[in-house]
Amino acid sequence: MKIHEFQAKKILKKYGVPIPRGAVAKTPAKAKKIAEELGGKSVVKAQIHAGGRGKGGGVKVAGTPDEAYRAAQQIIGMNLITHQTGPEGQKVKQVLVEEGLEVVKELYLGIVVDRALAMPVIMVSEAGGMDIEEIAATSPEKILKVAVDPATGFMGFHARKLSFGLGLEKDLNKQALSLIAQLFNIFMEKDATLVEINPLVITGNNRLIALDAKMTFDDDALFRHPDIKKLYDADELDRLEVEASQHSLNYIKLDGNVGCMVNGAGLAMATMDIIKLAGGSPANFLDVGGGASAEQVENALRILLADENVKVVLINIFGGILRCDRVATGMVEAAKKVKLQLPLVVRLEGTNVEEGRAILRESGLTFEVAMDFRDAAEKVAAITKTIVP
């Protein structure tokens, strides 16, 4: 689960990590008032989950409270498009207004779980401000890493290795040691999957401050973090994706026109791949779960049909322990309930497949029954070609 910058900064503050003074505004008037209280220069930052806000025009420096008002007026309500939002962009509901700081140097500090090592890894770089992936691609020697073995947990050495490695001295070093330790505490205590301060800045008066903050949390651990769960912002997600998650369906909206429903994540990805190979374009990823019960099939059909780009539907179910005849019966019920109008190709395979196919053929619905995986994709592609865009 992702959260906003201002929410992440609240967590940082609670753990004693220095952040710029500031507050959130939902109106230009409020933004002006915050800027007045801060005094001097301020920075107005759009609060959306996606990165790359600055380049998209979502971050503005204001010299006076009136400028902060105008900046907020421009940003609040705008449809911010960044490399992470996709072409449709994300509507901005609120801005964070912060004091402008005199920045001497920008650093990077981040923590993730390294999948190959199976341990949390803390990373720092003197090339702050750039994406860590960009640093890794252009100057990997500028990234310092240390893995924290769960057998020992976090030790002072972990922070020293990074802080001295960055060449920080005296008071700055002391600040960095404590800051790294606190950030690691957040990562572990809140079951984060990413905690990132980029940039972590050294200011003119020799202080380390988290100028930006990004945190994502392990969805599977939210059950033990009600405080984090509360920070969920459904407005940042696609409406259909939110609805799907309420039905425990894994649905991701894409931009094609072939709606698909599959049981199992791997098979669902493979189905998208095969649609593309056959010359079609998937409108979504949708995993109805290994069992594909009648109720889930109905929910899934309703959600994928709500995407108006969908012109044809492919259902690919591998019936294992839940037999194909049962799946087919559920599918017929679901298609009748949602009053399916679009062409539908069904590929059903596995236990009792003949009985299942017979149920589909005799249902009175216009199911195209595919004989195998490839046949299904080709049938879909053939239908897609007849649809005028």
Partner: protein, 289 residues
């Protein structure tokens, strides 16, 4: 032959009294697996279809000679159950449960280091040695005894491949779903090594997907150490970056973990890669000629 499990495997089911646990226990028994015990803390002394239930895994080991565990307990308690099974000294732990927190798995992986127990999963369908034993939730009937080893990060996609093989009368030595999570107990490499040494396996099929670098590591291992033919498919060629495709581990992050990179690594390693998953059965048949 087969790897990891066979007719001598004695299974204890952790979470046997739950709905998933009791349902799949019946399925495993029907397939012919020797399920000798179940464990549900507090329900020791009961039985499920005649299978004795104990409070602790170690009791199942001592009294019933269990040497493998299959875990169906809910996600918040799954790491606890894994550690208990490892402590009890079983050779193999298969964790079916989906949704184990990543930081729990960090601890589990650390704890497993140096232990004799092998963990398969979590978030996996389990494994099967056709005709001998199945531990997990895969449909037994689609399998057939034979000489192809299958390793996969996915459940139903594995069934798809197995089905294509069995339809062509090509049997399997063992099929293992290693799990769709970012951190799992057993890697592609561990299993490639076992299949490589198994005289009854002639062809290895490996099914990868986007996210992480497990496929690239597997490719390097195949290149250096595997003399048998290896056939592969990577799911997620059309997956958008930054999105978790159902499995917690299936995500392209920071431009890394794409299907294209993985396919290139495998082709370089001499693995026969098919781009179309519908062609896996056909490709296996031609490699076995």
């Amino acid at each position: 032959m087969s790897i990891l499990i066979d007719e001598n495997t004695r299974v204890v089911v952790q979470g046997i009294t739950g709905s998933e646990g009791s349902f799949h226990t019946k399925q495993m028994v029907a397939y012919g697996s020797k399920v000798v015990a179940g464990v549900t803390p507090g329900k020791g002394g009961q039985n499920v279809d005649g299978i004795p239930v104990f409070n602790r895994v170690e009791d199942a080991v001592v009294h019933e000679g269990a040497n493998a565990s299959c875990i169906f307990v809910p996600a918040p308690f799954a790491a606890d159950a894994i550690v208990e099974a490892v402590d009890a000294g079983v050779d193999l732990v298969v964790c079916i449960t989906e949704g184990v927190p990543v930081l729990e798995m960090v601890k589990v992986r650390s704890y497993l280091t140096g232990k004799k127990t092998r963990l398969i999963g979590p978030n996996c369908p389990g494994l099967i040695s056709p005709g001998k034993c199945k531990i997990g939730i895969m449909p037994g009937t689609i399998h057939k005894e034979g000489k192809v080893g299958v390793i996969s990060r996915s459940g139903t996609l594995t069934y798809e491949v197995v089905w294509q093989l069995t339809q062509r009368d090509i049997g399997q030595s063992s099929c293992i779903g290693i799990g769709g999570d970012p951190l799992v107990g057993t890697s592609f490499i561990d299993l490639l090594a076992l299949f490589s040494d198994d005289p009854a396996t002639d062809l290895i099929i490996i099914i990868g997907e986007i996210g992480g670098t497990a496929e690239e590591e597997a490719g390097a291992f195949v290149n250096e150490q595997v003399k048998k033919p290896v056939l592969g498919f990577i799911a997620g060629q059309t997956a958008p970056p930054g999105r978790r495709m159902g499995h917690a581990g299936a995500i392209i992050s920071g431009g890394k973990g794409t299907a294209q990179e993985k396919i290139a690594a495998w082709e370089q390693a001499g693995i026969t890669v098919v781009n179309n998953p519908a062609l896996l059965g056909e490709a296996a048949a031609s490699l076995l000629k």
